[in-house]
């Protein structure tokens, strides 16, 4: 019999193959991961809610289907860590906020439903910055998660809980959401693969909205192929989401298996780099670009002149939408209720509940957005930001006339210490400097590990950006980089993570 640790260090593709072949049961996989969570989550704090019973029941169902000879999907029986921003009928959904503590939704998000239908075993709900607003999980009302590479550092955010869980071998698959970089940034600082699919490629139905025009669900995994397999399971048109695209899902799994970049035109975005970027980040990024060139890609420099305005535009659009989206949390129908003493008016209860239930960053953004949308300011703020958004989309469009993909560092720095930026929102916002343009334009983007920064030994992410609905290109380039670096190194990068007891997470077991 295979030991628990051996099981948790397999890739999702390997686990699914083992389940399909009857070499391991889904129940064994689920139990091994639940044990791993029990052992390590005291340190990592990736999960807000562990759903042992739900997970075991789902695993048993997969095993029963296999026994009955029914066909299994490509990820059937594989455990997954679900960001606590997706509704689940059998688990609470809190969005990392006190205002929703204990709320159990009466319906499943489309992503949740698709995962269940595919036989993916949801282990529980993971920590996040409150309502996905943040880059470190420090804005969670339930305390920060820790980076498995160094427990004194943040795992990134807002999908930091899912990233930490996958990096800590608590699950081979994680689902996050990316509004300004909330999948790619934690992936980069945890040494994982993180993908923001094309906006509308994965359904938002049941994803508790932060900024509707930007929110995109996507995978967080340890390998490019695992990300592609998960990408396919969760993608495709959803009649419950008007903004979901009717187009066919790009062939991402095939692309992940065809790691060939010969002749591919790769553009280095000149605006994303230089001052403000950690030297180790730039070193590893430049090496990755050289690596692509050595693999046959044609590398050029491409200018995207309006990217410098992306961050300020984002911090008008996202808060504006959030100020409206979060208005529904008013204590009237669900969630926290404060001050209802029988004499207070509905307005007073709403006000007291929102004052007590939202954290500082959420309040800051609600106020920013309320101001930006107010009469007389709309044109100057929200209107202008939308114009910038159009210009950024045009920058991408003209860049993609010259090249097939764009690359940049995924983040300006590696994982920063917990508390370092907690009182400096601007410093925190800069963590998403490289990722935000793709959210504004709606195109696909990925972060893939490209080594450790020499100065601190922490992971660096290479960001790959592809045109709308050309998500498959991300996987082609990502897989090429992953293959070449793993070969050069002799093991996956994550095998070097030393923050927690990773005995068994060896190179051999990982591949």
């Amino acid at each position: 019999m295979t030991s628990g640790n051996d099981l948790t260090t397999l890739t999702a593709a390997q686990m699914a193959a083992a389940v399909a072949a009857g070499e391991v049961s889904a129940v064994e996989l689920a139990r091994a991961h639940l044990e791993r969570i029990a052992q390590t989550d005291v340190q990592v704090r990736a999960f807000l809610h562990r759903a042992d019973d739900v997970a075991m029941a789902a695993a048993r169902a997969v095993d029963d289907r296999r026994t009955a000879g029914e066909p299994l999907g490509p990820l059937a029986g594989v455990p997954l860590a679900l960001k606590d921003v997706f509704t689940t009928t059998d688990m609470p959904t809190t969005c990392g906020s006190k205002i929703l503590a204990g709320w159990q939704p009466p319906y499943d998000a489309t992503i949740t439903a698709r995962l269940r239908a595919a036989g993916v075993v949801i282990l529980g709900k993971t920590n996040m910055d409150e309502f996905a607003m943040g880059s470190s999980t420090e804005n969670s009302a339930f305390g920060p998660s820790r980076n498995p590479w160094d427990l004194s550092r943040v795992p990134g955010g807002s999908s930091g809980g899912s990233a930490a869980a996958v990096a800590a071998y608590q699950a081979p698959l994680g689902i996050g959401t990316d509004t300004g970089g909330s999948i790619r940034q934690p992936a980069a600082v945890c040494g994982l693969v993180g993908v923001k699919p094309t906006y509308g490629g994965s359904s938002r139905y049941g994803l508790v909205a932060f900024a509707s025009s930007l929110d995109t669900p996507g995978p967080l995994t340890r390998t490019v192929l695992d990300a592609a397999l998960l990408h396919e399971v969760i993608s495709g048109h959803d009649p419950h989401d008007s903004t979901s695209l009717a187009a066919p899902v790009p062939p991402v799994v095939a692309a992940a298996r065809n790691a060939d970049v010969a002749g591919l035109r790769v553009g280095v975005v000149t605006e994303l780099g230089g001052e403000g970027y950690a030297s180790g980040v730039l070193t590893r990024f430049n090496e990755a670009v050289e690596l692509l060139e050595s693999l046959g890609a044609k590398v050029t420099e491409v200018s995207c002149p309006h990217f410098g305005y992306a961050l300020p535009a984002y911090y008008l659009i996202a808060p504006s939408e959030c100020s409206s989206n979060l208005a529904r949390f008013d204590a009237m129908r669900y969630g926290l209720r404060i001050g209802d003493d029988g004499t207070a008016s509905a307005e007073e209860v709403m006000s007291e509940t929102r004052a007590a239930g939202f954290g500082a960053e959420v309040k800051r953004r609600i106020m920013l957005g309320t101001y930006a949308l107010s009469s007389g300011y709309y044109d100057a703020y929200y209107g202008k930001a939308q114009q910038v958004r159009t210009l950024i989309a045009r920058d991408f469009a003209s860049a993609f006339e010259q090249v097939d993909v764009l690359v940049s560092p995924a983040t300006p720095t590696t994982a920063f210490p917990i508390g370092e930026r907690a009182d400096d929102p601007m410093a925190m916002y800069l963590a998403d400097l490289c990722t935000i343009p793709s959210n504004l334009a709606g195109n696909a983007a990925m972060s893939v590990p490209c080594g450790l920064a020499p100065e601190d030994g922490l992971p660096v992410g290479l960001q790959i950006m592809a045109p709308v609905l050309a998500d498959d290109r991300l996987y082609r380039v990502g897989a090429a980089v992953e293959n070449a670096l793993d070969q050069r190194r002799g093991h996956p990068l994550l095998a070097e993570a030393s923050g927690i007891d990773n005995a068994g997470a060896t190179a051999e077991a990982g591949r």
């Binding site: 959904t93 508790v208 903004t243 008013d330």
Partner: protein
């Protein structure tokens, strides 16, 4: 002078005097609930009177994570309305969020349309007192309805209530808002124009089959804007917006009393505040609501959860081709078919009562236009008004009314008996003939019975009989009365009279 109207004591000026010295300008915003099978953004049914919160889902409850999906039928209905109102139909437009906090708003924003309405710039002709007034239509847009609050205790308003209950069945029902352009120059007719416009709009919605337009159930609701300025003034006055005026009569009264009130304020040297006002159905007066100074900032933004609406031109053309006959054309045609000359005021009364089709159908079933008019505008209107119901909702058909007319014509019923038959039909006792049979209401035609009754009356009134014999036939009325009394009213008065005269040698 920056006095407010609250600072001066003022008394309403009688209407005739007010409109002699001030010119009113009115405007109407009318909300119409569409009768689509499903709600605006989800699949819940649009039902009236169901158990509270029984027709709801995550979407219309605005639960976290839920998303709206546009009901295409609601777009089609709105385009139908826009085309019937001679509007331009947008080739591309977006929904917008109107943000404000209220417990019956599931999301604390309403999905509506702001600066990109689906239909713009049309008109609707209304007839008032024999003249046609063209009312300009500013826009027709689509939005979702809110839930319905019931405040328990206190005054029934949210402030001071002990507790409140919210029913979300109505939340998400598609609501069309029709906004007129300002309507100047109607003078003393302003209240009638307002009423006629709403009545015409109601008939239009009914003809288009897009709404039940039951004002008493709130499926058609009006906000009435009113301003006045001294006669001949180049500038319009400051307007007030009277909210939730929910019957035709109230629309007329709201305009009238607001003109009277504003004239009083201006006469006293006051200033009209731009504000919303509440209409009190029982007194017919308006009271101050919130003023524009403390008005909400709705922080509109384009709805990011929905893709823009771009109705293909061929679809719009198809909807246009499929439009039914509209009320104005219908009226002209029906009127001509009736080939019946009436005073304009009578025509207005018929149209305002919603009786034209009923009369036409009654005539088609065999009654004379006069008979049909008299029944529908007289007895039946009285009964409808007493019940607060629409004429068309009375449980009697034009065919049944025509049958009653026929029974009167043939002498089987007199007018008094006919009213009793009407009562029976309205009480659900069956057809006119069944009621006649069951209640024994037929006119007494048995010659023996009648002759006996006449002879009894002659014998009991020898003085009167003598006068008649002497040629004073007018005195016969008293004997007719005695016979009618003796037969329980079930004799035909004309026949009785003839019989009396014959028995006394006067025919």
């Amino acid at each position: 002078m920056t006095q407010t109207d609250a600072a001066v004591t003022s008394h309403p000026v009688p209407f005739e005097e007010a409109v002699a010295r001030y010119d009113p300008v009115i405007g109407l915003e009318t909300h119409v609930e569409l009768s689509t099978a499903a709600k605006m953004f989800c699949g819940c049914p649009t039902v009236f009177g169901a158990d509270p919160n029984s027709a709801v889902c995550p979407v219309c409850l605005g639960l976290p994570g839920s998303l709206p999906v546009i009901n295409k039928a609601a777009i089609e209905y709105t385009i139908r309305i826009g085309l019937a109102l001679n509007c331009s139909i947008a080739t591309w437009c977006r929904f917008a969020r109107k943000n404000y906090f209220y417990p019956d708003m599931p999301k604390n924003y309403q999905i509506s349309q702001y600066d990109e309405p689906l239909c713009t710039d049309g008109w609707l002709d209304v007839e008032v007192g024999g003249t046609t007034v063209r009312v300009g239509i500013e826009r027709v847009h689509l939005e979702e309805d809110t839930g319905k609050s019931m405040h328990v205790g206190g005054s029934g308003r949210i402030h001071g209530a002990e507790y409140s209950l919210v029913d979300y069945n109505r939340a998400g029902i598609p609501l069309v808002e029709v906004v007129t352009k300002p309507i100047p120059g109607t003078g003393a007719l302003a209240p009638d124009v307002a009423r006629a416009y709403v009545a015409e709009l109601r008939d239009l919605m009914r003809a288009l089959d897009v709404s039940d337009v039951r004002m008493e159930q709130g499926s058609l609701r009006c906000d009435v804007n009113t301003s006045i300025a001294p006669t001949g003034s180049a500038q319009w006055g400051t307007r007030t917006e009277t909210k939730n005026v929910n019957s035709l009569r109230s629309v007329e009264r709201a305009v009238r009393t607001e003109i009277e009130r504003q004239a009083g304020v201006l006469d006293a040297g006051g200033r009209i505040i731009q504000e919303t006002r509440h209409f009190n159905e029982s007194t017919g007066t308006t009271t101050s609501g919130r003023s524009k100074e403390e008005a909400q900032d709705y922080r509109y933004l384009p709805e990011p959860d929905l893709v823009p609406v771009a109705p293909p031109p061929e679809w719009v053309a198809q909807i246009r081709a499929d439009l039914p006959e509209l009320p104005a054309a219908h009226r002209v045609r029906v009127w001509q078919q009736l080939s019946w000359n009436v005073l304009p005021a009578d025509k207005d009364a018929i149209i305002n009562a919603g009786a034209l089709d009923l009369i036409a159908e009654t005539v088609a079933a065999g009654a004379s236009p006069e008979q049909a008019r008299n029944w529908w505008l007289g007895e039946l209107s009285r009964r409808a008004n007493a019940k607060g119901a629409e004429l068309s909702s009375l449980p009697i058909s034009p065919e049944q009314v025509a049958r009653i007319c026929g029974l009167v014509d043939s002498g089987d019923l007199n007018n008094k008996l006919a009213r009793q038959v009407l009562d029976g039909v309205l009480a659900g006792e069956g057809s006119p003939d069944e009621v006649v049979a069951a209640r024994g209401l037929a006119v007494v035609t048995d010659a023996g019975v009648l002759t006996a009754a006449v002879d009894d009356a002659i014998a009991a009134n020898p003085d009167i009989a003598a006068k008649i014999r002497a040629g004073k036939t007018a005195a016969a009325g008293a004997l007719v009365g005695a016979v009618m009394k003796a037969t329980g009213g079930q004799a035909d008065a004309a026949s009785v009279r003839e019989l009396i005269l014959a028995r006394l040698g006067q025919s």
